[in-house]
Symmetry: C2
Subunit: 309 residues, 2 copies
């Protein structure tokens, strides 16, 4: 049996890296030659996680076809999120928790998707189904991925299965998941060393809303006052970016991952700022509004805005 | 929780019907309101199976949206094989053993595919994973589906999992699967009551090979001499059909499902008949050639022909 590579999506987060490691290990136990690799540099949170559980980082690849003819995907399926030469290799396995789109095969394959908060939750089930033991180290990694994807089980994407998996994995890993989770999210939410320019671009997407170009960035923090204290820096960076890129409205969601609370900064044309106010039913006070209970751009920020445009 | 429908592909075979019944039952045990339905009339084999195990036939639907907002698919995923109004309902679950193509969702879903010989083999695993008991009746139905899809474990699509599932299900059902399987395949391979015109059209597909229209029909039998005795009838029907539909080459594969043996009848232009001879490395003798070991149109007939054109 020839070797296969397994990887998560580009710009990998903790689940993309951990799910690849977990599926590679599962396949190895089943007798297959599979190596976990990454499609990009690890973020701060993932570096903390691998370090904490003494796990070597997977090597980074740009293309798969020079090494293998077959690959496995975790935490994604859409071609544009995958390895650059995905069209030149055969996908034999997918484990994922996203919608299916822009994915097609010429032959039957293993495909396992569930509408849960994290790919590692599905992998935990697969280990159980095949009665394969999860080591304390791997349990710690998988626990971290679920905490990361669900923001410590607070995100609206969290399911009962994610909660059950977290409790079971925390026990195997010997971690107090609340205390450890806090520490881990903090490691990924360190903004002190980064410039405002970098922070407003790190996780930002442009949306076309009727004719307006709306830029929506999000940063995760654990200390909202520390972030809000840098408001003037952010507003200036957002104004500059809007001028340079022709954005009509720029929103920055600063999300406290510990208590589901977002502070929204907004710059742009007056009529568009008014639309943002209508979308969330709140007034902007000196470019700022509080959005308690909001953590998800996809589920809680884009849809109400879209409706106003 | 609102009701959902589950169904297999159009022109249902035994697996399409049984897998729907098996998944509906599994979902019911998990507390969901799910009904198995069919996208067309049952074939002779499936009628025999449901009768043998005292199972009522699922009702037939034309559209899903008038009844439900959400559906589950078994034994297919491609939109053109599914219910006519598939675009107007949400697919929440898929259990399948085919390639993935022409399938896209807007939200995450349950998707379970494995490259095995039959959907019912995957469902057998799912029952085991969830530790839900399979009744003797349901085991008989699932056993029948696997025998049907794998031609009693003889087809090149058969895997070790299919074999294990057949043995386990036969024990629960209390059936001698060899004896029962023979009886069942015979019930589906009764050609005595059908006209040659119907038989050459029942399971026929047209392929465009370079500029030629190549029609390839297949019929399953258990008594090859009985079928070959009707050769002149078949050849006449094939000639008439070619004239009426402008086929350049018409092949009829008469497959003995009990011993992996096919007799091929061919009519068409001389140069194209010569291509068929080259494709299989055999001479046609009065429009007929023997193809021992051949059972699969998809895997063993189309590819070598395609190569000659």
């Amino acid at each position: 049996m020839s070797k296969e590579l397994v990887f998560g999506h580009q710009n990998p987060d903790t689940d993309a890296i951990v799910a690849a490691i977990a599926l590679a290990n599962l396949q190895n136990k089943l007798g297959k030659d599979v190596e976990a690799v990454a499609l990009g540099e690890l973020n701060d949170e993932t570096k903390f996680v691998l370090d904490h559980f003494d796990q070597k980082a997977p090597r980074i690849i740009e293309n798969a076809a020079p090494e293998v003819t077959a690959v496995m995907l975790v935490d994604h399926n859409e071609a544009q999120q995958s390895v650059a030469d995905i069209a030149n290799v055969t996908v034999t396995n997918v484990v994922d928790h996203h919608r299916i789109a822009n994915f097609e095969t010429v032959a039957p394959l293993y495909y396992r998707a569930e509408p849960v908060g994290c790919t590692s939750t599905i992998l935990w089930e697969m280990y159980n189904e095949k009665q394969i033991t999860i080591s304390a180290q791997l349990a710690g990694l998988m626990l971290s991925a679920i905490i990361s994807d669900t923001l410590l089980l607070q995100s609206p994407t969290t399911t009962e299965q994610d909660k059950t998996a977290v409790r079971a994995l925390a026990e195997i890993a010997g971690e107090d998941y609340q205390a450890y989770g806090l520490q881990m999210l903090k490691a990924g939410a360190n903004i002190a060393d980064k410039t405002a320019e970098d922070l407003i671009d790190e996780d930002a997407k442009t949306f076309e809303m009727s004719t307006a170009q709306v830029r929506i960035a999000q940063i995760n923090v654990v200390d909202l006052p520390e972030a809000v204290a840098r408001k003037n820096e952010f507003v200036q960076a957002m104004n500059n970016s809007s001028t340079n890129n022709n954005y009509d409205l720029f929103l920055l969601a600063i999300t406290n991952v510990l208590n589901s609370e977002t502070t929204l900064l907004a710059v742009g044309e007056h009529t568009l700022l008014a639309k943002a106010e209508q979308a969330f039913g709140k007034q902007l006070n000196d470019n700022l509004m509080e959005l308690p209970g909001v953590v998800s751009r996809k589920k809680q920020i884009v849809p109400p805005l879209q409706e106003q445009f």
